[in-house]
Amino acid sequence: MTTALALGAVALASLVVYALLGGADYGGGIWDLLASGPRKVAQRDLVERAIGPIWEANHVWLILVVVVLFTGFPAAFGAISTTLFVPITLLLFGIVLRGAAFTFRAYADGDALQARWGLVFSASSVLAPLTLGAVVGALASGRLRVAPDGTPRSDPMAWLTPFSASTGLLAAALFAFLAAAYLAVEADGDLRRDFRARAGAAGAAVFAAALLAAVLSWREAPLVFEGLTARPWSLPLHLATGAAALLAFWALWTDRVRAARFFAAAQAALIVVGWGAAQYPFLVVPDVTLAGAAAPARTQVLLLWALGAGALTLIPSLWLLFRVFKGPLLRASGAGPGQRG
């Protein structure tokens, strides 16, 4: 395994974790937007309670992806930034407004500002996954062209295609699915039933969006289509993804919410890994490869060491964070955040 491949694997793994954790936070915002029925307020409160202590930590995974990209694959970072200027800028607006609005709303108890920022929070929670998914789809589509010196050769709007729209929808559906599956674990009674039903609906939307993206990829992203159908690992990967999806539905149906959370996460992780594998060895199809964009060897080795050392501090801290807020303690106390009194 080359160092470039190892760094690529780290970037993909960080993106998987970002989808599983940060993605679910966006999904929470989507359920805030779609809150309905007699327990509308309780649904929104649960979302706020669930993501409040952890969203900032979850967000850092995206920063890690960016940093690994510009340190380890500087040419790719330049190519991605120039060809995807428009959707990345939109993504930034989604990220900034989501984070700021969530906090403004949480700390504006009884303030007239609260309702308005609540709407901004939920709307930007939809914008961010749509644009993030579109960025990923565009990278795989083969429509983004870059000269060897990094100058973009494609139109600034080349990223916007039916295929990238379908991957945007897929990301939004997937994040909503994850969020509902996670929230069901943290809810009781009727509220849990609400989120089990929502997870089921979102799971169906994931299936539909994935099918649409696969069909569109036949014409619009041939390399992805080949990856999805014709590589030696294609069939086992689809079988595993499909099995995780079916098990998630079964667990939701039978009220095994912890199992549902696990299988939903497994399904999402397999989808992201499947995308990464399908476009290997390209970072931007078809002009930028892992090896072609890689930084000098010494930088790659040092970066791997830095990532390893960082992981030694990160993993125990994250374990503590999730144990405190997502472990059994949560159900026992059941109270809102300590600072909100």
């Binding site: 930590a57 200027f85 700021a100 969530f102 949480a106 930084a295 000098p296 990532l307 405190v324």
Partner: protein
């Protein structure tokens, strides 16, 4: 607006906005932990209340800092892709380590803000300490990247490409300690001075209010210490620049003609066309003395350097004067506070002093912004000193005025909302704030 100018405005605006929240993110957790510590030591409920309220402020300000910092990390590529393609492998190390410091900050802030009822008091306090430490560590790493732009090291330039890259050498270029210390102290000074000013404002209205007295008692030592240390740190920085970036020093001081016994100019407007600085108060041999600690030292003037490597002396000199002027004023005010405190052995709350603190409240942040402009404008026309010009680093993407306007509107919206929320939710709601009456 030309795209290069729009790119510089957009990046400058994003940094000017972010830098305030970044500085607060470094210093405010320290204040919050100090209040918490006082509560643990004294058991006085007022300190617990203080820690909680400051923590609420940290929560709002940190969130905006986190997302505005994300904008910066993407804009490095969106606006300066050629700079990043060149510099990424060289200075990626401090950025990746900063990523982990940021992780720690976010994780332990979550535990501190939301975990009070869920974790032991000791772990809760430790979380706060770790937030303060990792905040300082983040600033440390990020500043290292900026130091490298001023003093590029750790590579050989071969036909415009970087060869023999050594990120460890690049991480600690000449002058790293001076700049990192200066930036860290500026964060503590700016934040503590601003917080002291806010509580002083309330104390002027309700001089006996225990809440604001407690707040001033915690924050004032930090403000005084940082403000007194900053001129010393500034002296080290200026002497470093005199050695490594003489053209920048010449621009800072509006100094055109090389010579011994160079004067220090207070105020004045440098005019690049006529190569003189008019209307300045000149202190004979002052610049030689400050820059080299020798009145007879020769200081190179701008005219000794090729015209196309000059920064704009007018902008740089003015920003430098603002920074030094405000910094000196804050140090003088801090000395006065210290003297009164020491003579009375009690927190000084004289009306005139509180008034001065209120007036000084924005001074630290203004000095910090001015100092940042000095570094950035002073490095022009280069983005990497002597290696890459800003004009060569910019993106080929056009119509950058559109994102410029959009982000400017976003920052105005966020800045206003933060101010309103801090006012209504934290200060107005403070127990002592009832005297503040029906302010909006």
């Amino acid at each position: 607006m030309p795209d290069l100018l729009a790119a510089r405005w957009l990046f400058g605006l994003s940094l000017a906005f972010h830098i305030v929240f970044a500085a607060v993110g470094v210093a405010m957790p320290l204040l919050m932990v100090l209040a918490e510590w006082r509560w643990r030591r004294t058991g006085a409920a007022v300190y617990l209340d203080l820690s909680r309220r400051w923590a609420k402020g940290v929560a709002i300000l940190f969130a905006v800092g986190a997302v505005s910092g994300t904008v910066i990390s993407f804009e490095l590529g969106l606006l300066w892709p050629r700079f990043m393609a060149f510099a990424g492998p060289i200075i990626g190390m401090p950025f990746s380590l900063e990523g982990f410091a940021f992780f720690a900050e976010a994780i332990f802030l979550g535990l501190f803000l939301y975990g009070r009822e869920r974790i032991s008091p000791r772990l809760h306090f430790l979380s706060g300490v770790l937030v303060a430490l990792s905040g300082a560590l983040s600033a440390f790493f990020v500043t290292l990247a900026n130091v490298w732009m001023n003093h590029p090291a750790g590579f050989d330039l071969v036909l415009g490409r970087a060869e023999a890259v050594d990120p460890l050498v690049a991480m600690f270029p000449a002058g790293w300690a001076e700049q990192v210390v200066h930036v860290l102290i500026s964060s503590y000074a700016a934040t503590a001075v601003a917080v002291a000013g806010i509580h002083a404002w309330f104390l002027r209205r309700a001089p006996t209010d225990p809440f604001h007295r407690a707040a001033l008692g915690v924050v004032l030592p930090v403000a005084v210490l940082a403000s007194l240390l900053q001129p010393v740190s500034g002296d080290f920085s200026a002497r470093r620049i005199a050695g490594t970036q003489p053209v920048k020093l010449a621009a800072l001081e509006g100094h055109f003609h090389t010579g011994r016994y160079a004067p220090l100019r207070l105020g004045g407007l440098p005019d690049a066309a006529t190569a003189e600085t008019r209307w300045a108060l000149e202190l004979p041999a002052g610049l030689s003395l400050l820059a080299f600690h020798d009145p007879g030292a020769e200081v190179k003037g701008l005219l000794d350097f090729p015209r196309d490597t000059w920064p704009d002396p007018l902008k740089v000199h003015l920003a430098f004067q603002v920074m030094v002027g405000l910094g000196t004023a804050l140090a003088a005010l801090s000395a006065a506070v210290l003297l009164l405190w020491w003579r009375r052995r009690a927190l000084p709350v004289d009306r005139w002093l509180l008034g001065a603190l209120v007036l000084a409240a924005p001074a630290g942040f203004l000095a910090l912004e001015a100092g940042w402009l000095v570094t950035e404008w002073g490095r022009q026309p280069f983005t990497i000193w002597g290696v890459m010009r800003t004009a060569d680093a910019v993106t080929p993407v056009s119509s950058l005025t559109v994102p410029l306007v959009a982000f400017a509107a976003l920052y105005v919206l966020l800045g206003t909302t933060v101010a309103v929320l801090l006012w209504r939710q934290i200060l107005h709601a403070a127990p002592g704030a009832r005297h503040a009456g029906e302010q909006p």
